[in-house]
Symmetry: C2
Subunit: 372 residues, 2 copies
Amino acid sequence: MPGKRSRPTPASFEPVRETLTNRPPPKTVAIETISWRGDHVRMIDQTRLPEERVEIEIRTVPEMVEAIRALRIRGAPAIGIAGAMGLVAALHPHRDDESEAFLEALEGYASELEVARPTAVNLAWAIGRMRRVAEEHADMAPAALWERLEDEALAIHAEDLAMSRRIGEAAQEVIASHSGILTHCNAGGLATSGLGTALACAYVAHEQGKRIRVFADETRPLLQGSRLTAWELMQAGIDVTVICDDTTAATMAKGEIDLVIVGADRVAANGDAANKIGTYGVAILAKEHGIPFYVAAPRTTFDFALRTGAEIPIEERDPVEVTAGFGRRTAPEGVKVYSPAFDVTPARYVTGFITDAGLVRPPYEETLQVLR
Amino acid sequence: MPGKRSRPTPASFEPVRETLTNRPPPKTVAIETISWRGDHVRMIDQTRLPEERVEIEIRTVPEMVEAIRALRIRGAPAIGIAGAMGLVAALHPHRDDESEAFLEALEGYASELEVARPTAVNLAWAIGRMRRVAEEHADMAPAALWERLEDEALAIHAEDLAMSRRIGEAAQEVIASHSGILTHCNAGGLATSGLGTALACAYVAHEQGKRIRVFADETRPLLQGSRLTAWELMQAGIDVTVICDDTTAATMAKGEIDLVIVGADRVAANGDAANKIGTYGVAILAKEHGIPFYVAAPRTTFDFALRTGAEIPIEERDPVEVTAGFGRRTAPEGVKVYSPAFDVTPARYVTGFITDAGLVRPPYEETLQVLR
């Protein structure tokens, strides 16, 4: 779950919008994880990956709630975009309603959407942002207000894409041509508007003609690395190799890896970074092999309310994902399982943070302050 | 594939037989991986684990060859025992044959059995040992010679069990009561006569009343940790917890692990140890957390013909084990995969070798000489 935002601060999105108008449109987007089609939402059904690429069309709130709950779309930033677009799609048939009926429908849909998944803060944040637009423009005729809401949903999408691109660009000073990049889990386009955080670094390097090779840790138990990261990089024509999580050390020893780039779910004020389980081990292996270890994350991922990583709560996953995760029993009935969803990488293992505000290096207690 | 012997030296088995007569019989054997039943072989069909425990009876060479090829029995020591016992079972109906016919049958069966799996040196070694017994006693009547061969097969089994037990006992000086032990792959009873190498240390600790907790790395791609290690430890009533390979570092950071014990496939003269892929990474994580890292292996695993681990050849596994290992596609069609079967842990990470000749500590260039 890359990019889960702990402290959504709408203010931090303002400069992004400004930047958007100042720069040429992105050259390539690897995949269209989610897109707006005038009156409905189109998105890749991620539960069907990597077996087949199926796109689904969403026009109603129940359809969108089901898609979010069933993980057809996942990744905190992507879910935020889905919520906003889903709201606009559901309101499309109401454009000719009376103002009161339109606002009533909006409120009903918003309440259903914002609770589709409780942990992804972005969803509640995006719906909240749509609500505020409606409140500010409550005097508009429904048809005009609907267009204003459509603009807002598109802005949320565009801002996310711009954030990803700035992360990708900030990474280029540490990515040499002919680099081997290791990543863990999927901090990619499928979790966001299409470029991702850790993978944005690879996409931009590829666009710039750098000859990169990406090694994707499989990432048990849910295999986001082999199922999603490998899939989206192949779509973009980037050289990708899948390795099991216990093959990372041997791959580093072989000299294949020049740098590691991972995402983050939450970063404490001192630079301790929570991310998908296994990230901490990769950081240790990188240190032992003298390989730089970078964390790519937007400013919204930094939670200055937490002094250190020890304060980050770690949830545990359902043991069945380990004992019978792929439809077949792979461990004895009733065996004990320890399956935390995340681990915390202490700041001392992090060579640098690649953010939408640029590259940040130690000492983090000081340098991270620019992200506040 | 724990305990694959690179240099089978029958001489090294002699002292074991002597020890066998000097000590009381083993108190407990965790599981009967393979046993002799008077005229046939009985063994656990490991392809059915952990879903169900099914025992199969083997009376003919084609049955045994199929069982070995299909991995119903695996692990180099166990396959050696299976080959010898399979030969005796197949010869049972020939006890009343003329001498020449008996020896002809023996030679035919032996040639078929010894090539059932080419890489496990123990199989060719065990069959060779049976052949030499037949040559030495070619003047015996077939019924008497058959009994002599039966004795030899039982001796191979008993020697393996004694070897395991001596490894288990040698480990006790480094296992405190209330220890958390991490292991990788299955260097257990299922790979040997019933006690294993790394797991023998846990079985003996358990017998001695130590309150141990074992953490079993799942061990992708073939999941020997979750499928086999967890299963056999549960059978023995030992507290076992399965973790994904990317959860090892977090489990260590949590303070759950007091020591690591793994098996080895081959150890070079300088102490560099080849074992199942992932072992090297576990060794680095152990070092970073200040956790001792032990390799449990019989003397026959040490290959003094190899100066360092760089000379150990590493085979690669079939990519399909990574891309669709659970009967379901988990990575995109056609994706590149790097899947070495083993890695090499440099000697500097090994706190000690737990062998059937006792505990060996650095400097290995000197201390390992006692195993020659």
